[in-house]
Structures are given as C-alpha cells and as structure tokens.
Symmetry: C2
Subunit: 563 residues, 2 copies
C-alpha cells in the first residue's frame, strides 16, 4: 500500500496515511489533480496559504520498468492562474515510490522567517530550519545538503527565483549523478514552494525497495514485453544518438523552429546549435550524449555539456532550451546557451519561459537579437531580483504587459514552447485548449501539421493519452500512447487488480476533465482557449502559414468531450 504524507508548514506538523483505496490505479498527474480538485479552493491565491503543492510519483515509479519513474509536481499556478501539473524526471519519483510514498502534500505557509527543509526517510518526516540556504542557487544548495546528509540523498530544491515567488520559478530535482539539473519547469511551482517558505526536500533512500508488484512473475513478463517495444523503437535510437537536440534539424526542416521572437520557423544558422554540433563538442570536450536522467532509463536522451576547458558546465542541454535561447534570440552559440541554461537551473527559472520572455524584450531597447552578453546579464538580473529581473521572472505575459507589448507567444499566461503553432496546427490546438496553458508536453500532435482540419480529435486524444502517461510515470519518449491493453496488463500485475483497457483510458480522460473543471471554477473561461492574435494575422516563413483552425474546432475539444 502506498502512503501519503501531508505536511503542514504553518503548524509544523506531518501525517502519514494510506493512500485512498479508490486511488489504486492512479498516481502522478491523476492523483495530484484529484487532490487539488478536492482540497484546493479554485479561486485561492496561488501564493497564498490555501494553495497546496503536491508531489506524486507516477503509478509505475519505483518498479523495474525502465523510463517509467517520472513524477508530477502540482498546484495552482501563479503563471496561469489555473491548475498546473509539471512533470519531471530525475531520481525523486523513483526513490519516493521505493520508500512506499505515493504522494507528498505541502500545505500552509511556514512561519519563523527562515527557509525550511523537509527531510523524508522510510519512516521519518522532519522539518528543520535552514537559514544558511537562504537565496542560494540550486547547485550550492544541493552541495550543502549532500555534505550534511550524504551523497546518496535525492534532493528537490528551489533557487532564489522560487524564494522570490516568481511565476516562472522551477523546482529542481537531482538526477542519477546527484546534480540539480532536472526541473519541474513550467507554471511557476517553484514560486509556490517559495511562497510556502520551503527551500528543499531531502529524500533519504535508506530502506527503499524495488516495487516488484502484486504478481511479480506476471509483472516481470509484462515489463519484458514493454522493454522490448522500447528497445526496438527507431525513436529510442534517435533520442539516444541525438538527444532532444535532434529536434533542431527536424523543427528547422518543418518550419516550426521559433526564431527571432517567433518571426520565422527556420534558422539560417541552425548548424551552429544542432545535434551534430552538440555531439562534436561532447566528443571534443569529453562531455556525454546518451545520458540518463533517472537510473535504468533505456532512452537516455540527456547529455552533459562541458565548457571549453572540459569541465562540467550544465546537464540536460535540451532542445527546448537550445531553441528558445538560441534561434529565438538569434544566439548561434551553444556555449552561451549552455551558460544561460546553467544559470537558469541554478537560479531556478524555466528556460522555456525565460527564452520567450527575452525574445519579446527584443521589442524594447532592453535586448537586441544576438547579444550574448546581454542575454546572460538578463538572467543574472532575474536571479538577483532587480526590478527588471522581477518583471522577467514573471514570464512572457507579465513582461509583455509591463512593456505594453501585444505580440506575446503565450496562452493562459504561459509561453509557447519551442514548436511553432503555425507550422504544427494540431499542437496549436493543444496550446490553445490545454488546461495547462501553452505546453508542448500537454498533447503533441505532429500529424498533418499544415491542415486546419481534423485536429480537434487528434489534440483531444493526445491530451488524454499524455495525461495518462503522466499519471503512470511514463516518459513521453517511450512513444507509448494509447497502448491501453499493455498498460492494463502492467497495472494488473503491479496492483493485483486488473482494470479494463477502457478503465485505463479513463485515468487520463478524467484527469483532464478535473483540470478543466478546476480552471473554470478558478475563473478561466473557454474564451481563453485561443492563440494570440498575431498567430492568425502574421504568416510565418518559410511556410508562410498562419494559424487558421476555427474557433468552433477549438471549442469542440471540451464541449464535445467524449465519455
């Protein structure tokens, strides 16, 4: 039986209870949504005392299934004003699950003025004050905590951006190498953690046990089948070889690579920032491709990026960061982008949102395309919390508002990711309608990218299947989507209670519906299911396409929501 840990920071208390039996098949996003839906007043202030911050490993987390130990971090978002699930890799989901923990719920706001640390062990839950960590970056925070608690601990932490309640602040999670380089990046949940006065969570893996399932034999068999699919997939080989950076060439060719503040979908200097360049630098500087963010992953899409002296600079220099801070800012240099990535990881701010934000700043005299030094300087402004930095740290929508800019690549307050909706219209439907705001992981649709028709169902199905994957703990790079029968088999062997394929689909379907309902009660009406105007009025080179999916087709994603 998985347990749930409730921590009340205001009272300084914690309770450990068994997870509700009705939650047998749900974990991750579905579990987090369910907790938020039942326990958070939708109209509450995201940074106020009534919001919750939930950590929920996916249902399969901590089992021998590879690439299936992701974790959901969730709460009401200060960025979108709606519900937010930010899905993250790294080691936290796996180890929490192996300690028997299905969910950690943080409530209240800590008193006393000093940042707090939550220490979780197999049987212990402890809160302590850590004044020495105040405003430290994630790297120093993790170093300090490992010195104190040992190298084996897994750490969740926020940097100064989270402590400053920024709407684009992240929560860092240590990877298999103990580095704080995986991030629950989107939606500002780092700001929620900061608002509660919680600086870090240390998870002591002592006593953790692999979850072998209610029927270990059947589970091992099913896992074999699952792993075979993963290992034989061409996509797995692509990610392993190129990492997500492989998407630079793909997006450029498709015309969906955000370039110079979303004014082009292709980048003339893309060869300087693509996977080939990344691989060459990795070979030259003894960096690494095919790096795993969590133990046992068979996809291994991550990397380690070293500086010209061959010393570690950053890890997980991912496509989204490369595109949003490279082509989108006309910065054609991986070393600059890697430094920006490092500082964002260290300060704890979303690289996607920040890249979009600096992009729109090109409409002012505060940033000019291609200005590498200024780009890095702006990230320092954010991390140090100058007035300008405070603005940028709220993300692209607030920054646009402050500077009177109307051309803002965002939906529901959250910036687009590095995939142009005008050359990927199905994804545009997801950007417009997802309860998560513009989010490429909320339901990627690559089929018939230029068609205006047929995306309603594709986007809806993708959103449902992604909500399911996020609930199961599956990485989206497994490539599994609507493999309900296989999932049913795995769930039955793990839990001892077999859902039907249809019941499996309902996990995703109902999670999405709860998110939608939460948002409506929070005051986000269907009228917000729209892309920004310029996506319709400006055509995007080189395809010269505009976003032309009809409003009625956007509205049908949820108004015709199938049972």
């Amino acid at each position: 039986m998985r347990t749930r840990i409730d921590v009340d920071l205001e009272k300084g208390t914690s309770v450990r209870t068994d997870l509700d039996e009705s939650a047998l098949w749900i974990g991750g996003r579905a579990l987090a949504d369910s907790i938020l839906f039942q326990e958070v007043p939708p109209a509450c202030h995201p940074l106020g005392t009534r919001n919750l911050l939930v950590f929920a490993p996916g249902l399969f987390a901590g089992t021998p299934m590879p690439t299936a130990s992701r974790m959901s971090v969730a709460g009401k978002s200060p960025l979108t004003g709606g519900i937010k699930e930010s899905n993250v890799g790294g080691m936290a989901g796996m180890i929490l699950a192996q300690l028997g923990i299905g969910g950690v719920v943080i409530r209240g706001i800590s008193s006393g003025g000093h940042p707090k640390l939550l220490h979780l062990g197999k049987r212990s839950v402890e809160l302590m004050e850590v004044p020495e960590l105040h405003r430290l970056g994630n790297y120093q925070t993790v170093e300090s905590l490992k010195n104190r608690f040992g190298n084996e601990v897994v750490i969740l932490s926020i940097g100064p951006c989270g402590e400053m309640n920024m709407s684009a602040a992240t929560i860092a999670v240590t990877d298999g190498n103990g580095r704080p380089c995986r991030h629950a990046g989107r939606g500002g949940l780092g700001g929620v953690m900061g608002s509660k006065g919680l600086k870090a969570i240390v998870i002591d893996p002592k006593g953790s046990q692999l979850r072998k399932g209610a029927d270990p034999g059947a589970f091992a068999e099913a896992i074999k089948e699952y792993t075979k699919i993963l290992k034989s997939s061409k996509r797995t080989a692509f990610w392993q070889e190129n990492g997500t950076a492989g998407l630079v060439d793909v997006s450029h060719a498709r015309g969906s690579l955000p370039t110079r503040n979303f004014t082009s979908g292709a980048y003339d200097k893309k060869d300087r920032v693509n996977a080939e360049r990344l691989k060459a630098l990795a070979a030259q500087r003894k960096g690494m491709m095919g790096h795993a963010c969590m133990r046992g992953c068979v996809v291994r899409c991550s990397n380690v990026f070293n500086n010209p002296q061959g010393r570690y600079l950053t890890s997980g220099l991912e496509y989204e960061t490369i595109a949003m801070m490279g082509p989108n800012l006309d910065i054609d240099d991986l070393d600059t982008i890697a430094q920006m990535d490092f500082h964002c990881d260290d300060y704890g701010i979303d690289t996607i949102e920040t890249g979009a934000t600096i992009g729109v700043l090109s409409e002012t005299d505060l940033f000019g395309f291609g200005d590498r030094e200024r780009a890095i300087q702006l990230i320092h402004e954010i991390g140090k919390g100058t007035v300008l930095g405070r603005v940028l740290g709220q993300g692209v929508t607030t920054t646009g508002k402050v500077f009177g800019i109307t051309r803002i690549p965002a939906v529901k307050g959250q910036s687009f990711a590095a995939h142009e909706a005008r050359s990927l219209k199905g994804l545009g439907v997801t950007y417009a309608t997802s309860p998560q705001g513009a989010d490429h992981t909320a339901g990627f649709v690559a089929e018939e990218p230029f068609s205006r028709e047929g995306h309603t169902e594709r986007s809806r199905n993708a959103q449902i299947n992604v909500a399911l994957a996020d609930s199961l703990g599956l990485c989206q790079f497994t490539g599994l989507r609507d493999d309900y029968d296989l999932f049913a088999l795995l769930i039955a062997a793990l839990t001892g209670k077999g859902p039907s394929a249809e019941q499996v689909r309902q996990i995703g379907r109902e999670a999405l519906l709860k998110e939608r309902s939460f948002n409506q009660a929070a005051g986000i009406g269907p009228g917000q299911d729209r892309l920004p105007e310029f996506m319709r009025s400006e055509v995007l080179p080189p395809n010269n396409s505009a976003f032309d999916v009809q409003d009625e087709d956007l509205d049908r994603v949820f108004s015709d929501y199938p049972s």
Copy 2:
C-alpha cells in the same frame, strides 16, 4: 437624429452615419456596450488592432438638463481583460451631443510613427499628425492645442502613460475652465488610446446647439420637475458644501476608509485630510469649493486647489484620490496629495489604481508609509516610464505579481476604490461581481453595510440602475436611481417616442447583461467574481469585520438575473 463617427486610424479614413434607429433610447454606456458587443472580438488583445475605443455621450447630454451630460468612454480593458466603461464628466459629452454626435468609434492602429490628432467639427472630421505632442503631459498638450485651435475647444487627451500603453492610463477631458482635469480614469482606456497612436481629440464647439427635444414644451416641464428634485435634495447641499471630500469623515466614521494599505478602515489623522481642512485651505488660498466640472451643473461637487502661494495646483481633488493617496499611504498632508493628483492628471494615470499600487508597494522596501517625497517620486517614475514606473503603471495586480505580493485589493485586475468592502459588504458584492472589476461607481450599496445577507438583490439593482444612469448621461450625484417614470417622461419629451418605465429599466439591465456576456466570451469566468482572500481572512479594525458574504450569494447576482 444623432450621428455616429467612425474613424479608422489604420486607413486614415472616417465615416459619419446616422445612429441606428433601434438605438433611439440608448446612449452613453448602453450604446458603447452595444457597439463593443457587436464589433469587438472578445478574445482580442486590448492593445491590438481589433479593439475599439468608443466615446458616447449619455442620452440626455447636451440638453438643458443639468448634471446630465456625462460621457461613456469604452473598450476592452488592458487592466481587466474585460469590457470597460469609464464614465467621465467635463465638457466633452455636452459639446459632442450639441454637435449632434451620439458616438465616436476609433478603430485600427495608426501607422507613420507620429502621434495623431482627431479634430471634430460640426461637419468636419480631420486626422493630423502632432509629433510635437509626443510624450507631453496633459496640461502642456491642452495648452498647445488651445494655442493652435482656440480657447473654446474641448479636448480629450492622453499623457505619456497612455502613450506607453499603460494599463492604468487615463483619458483626460477638459472641464468648464478648459483644464484637463476630468478623467476617464479606470480600466486603462488611455492605454487603448495610446495603442492606437491617438494623442488627442479636439472638439470644436462652433455650431453646437442646445438639444431642446422633440417636444420642447413637455421637455422643459419635465426638466423643471427633475431640477426641483435635485435642488431640494439634502445630498446636493452636502456635495456642494463639502465636495466629495465630505466622504473622508463619513468613511472614517463608518470604518470604510482604506488606511495603510487596507489594514484599517479608520485614519487617526483624518482631520488633516478631510473636507474641513480642504475648505479652510480653499478659503485661505483663494481656491474654490462648489466648482462645476461641466457647465450648468447644480451639484457642483468639485473644487480648485491652490498651492501655498495661491497659484492653481490641481482641480478636482476628489475623495477617491485623497483617500487612496492619503490615509491609504499614511500621507496626512493635502499639499502632497494635491501634487500627486496633479502629476497623475498630467501624466495621465488613474489616481485610484496608483494609490492602491503604492499601497501594496509598502510590502517591499520600495515605499514606506508616510514617505511623502518617495510617493511623489514614484509617480514621476511612472510618468517617465522607468522599469519600476512601467510596473506601477500597470496597476496593483501586475505590481503585486511582479513583487510576489499576495495581499492585493483588486478584483478582475482592477483595484478597489476608496471604500472598504469589509465595512460595506453590499459594495463588496458589487466589487466582486461587476463586469467592470472592483469599481465603486458600478453599483454603490450603503444599506446594512455589516450584514452578510440581502446584498445580492441590492447590488444587482444598484448595478442595473447605475448602468441606466451611465447610459442617460446622469451624474450619480443626482441621487436618482430607479426613478423610471420620471426618466420615461424625460425620454419621451426628448425623443418623441415614449418608453414605458419597464423599458427604461431594460436599458440598464440589458447593458449589464451584454457586459457580462462579453466578459465570458473573453475568458473571464464566474470564478473571478470573488474578493481577494485577505478580505475574508483578515478582520478590519475598527469594526473588526471580515467579508463574509457567501459565494452562492455572489453567484446569484447573475445566475438568477431577473427579466
């Protein structure tokens, strides 16, 4: 027949048409709402090309009726993201109506880079470039335009804040003395005007004619009756003697005077900023009480405030400004408040929103209560458009977001006015549910201020009656509310077509409903019909009352909307 002037700034063209006959009984707010509802896509960007800016004199404007020539300024608001009607006195409504103009509709965004001027005459409509007015304050703008076009013209203008697209920017209207001291203050319509590249509208009164009505004799008779009511009212005498500043003592006594960033409802130093003090200074410095903002007003609630040297400093030093920049910032000095008012009027920024904004800034180290110099300095930051000024110029909600502050006295992005909802719960219901965001003029309810019950109907009726008054051009200080029979009489004599009392009520009822529908299509759901959390969790001294009207009672304002 009233005419409508449509100006397309993008094309540089204008058209004059007769107002739709079906609009016979509607003017002001109802007319503006109707135009916005039909012609503005609700999801458009408020500062984008598809938003409209509408000027519509009330139905009675330009007639011999005193205190009845107010004007509606309307558009989609950059502050609230919803529909906005900002009602303003001064001379524009009267003179436009006397030129036969029932509405001016501005569309598109001017090209060419230079600010534009719209010149309206009896038969002429002209657009011209005014590069020399770029970033000038309203006072200099008006001076320059009077030098060019003569002292008799009526001028609508924006200051630098409007030119910078700020969400709290105002549109100034000249008063009977030709000073730009009446403002369409709320909701940032100055930012909309700025986004269109329109700096000012000059109205040449040549050829203007008093509107004597379809049945002049009956109209004159009805006006006599109306004027008698106004003149015999005790309230009229109160406003004439004290101006709106008379409310300082009233609010203090009721415990509804926002003090030190909404932490108290009474101000220990209120005697230094109340009407008695204002009257003493007016007498001493040869200022003026009982000043009329428009010709012929019988209420004359305004004033002229001179500096210690006896020279004009500002006009219309009103209660809202005094309270929000005085007690709310712990500034106990009318001279400082008057300077703040002058600079806000000159830069063109809402004094209510700005007072609330500086108030929440007291939670940072950027402002300390009682710091007179700093308060004035902050207004200069806004007017000059420094980064901090840009933040503050977006109003209290964006400022709170940027600095991670949760205790924000605002609804739907717009700050409370100078009336505490915890000591005026009926007004709290209006703040929460009005499509206009928190707005004291959207339906003031003073009955049973501490009761949690019975406000749903009171607020709804007040909102409907105010929408009616705003449509007729009536100043709220006429004290007339549901005098439908008298209004029907007046309308019949003016237009020659007599509505029933019920039809008169429908003018207000339908206007409000259109606003609500527009907002829903703009994505503002009923979940936003809530006061900020601290109004429920913090009790307000000296009454020690919290806002405790139930959510269901808030929801019923519109869910049970009567026919």
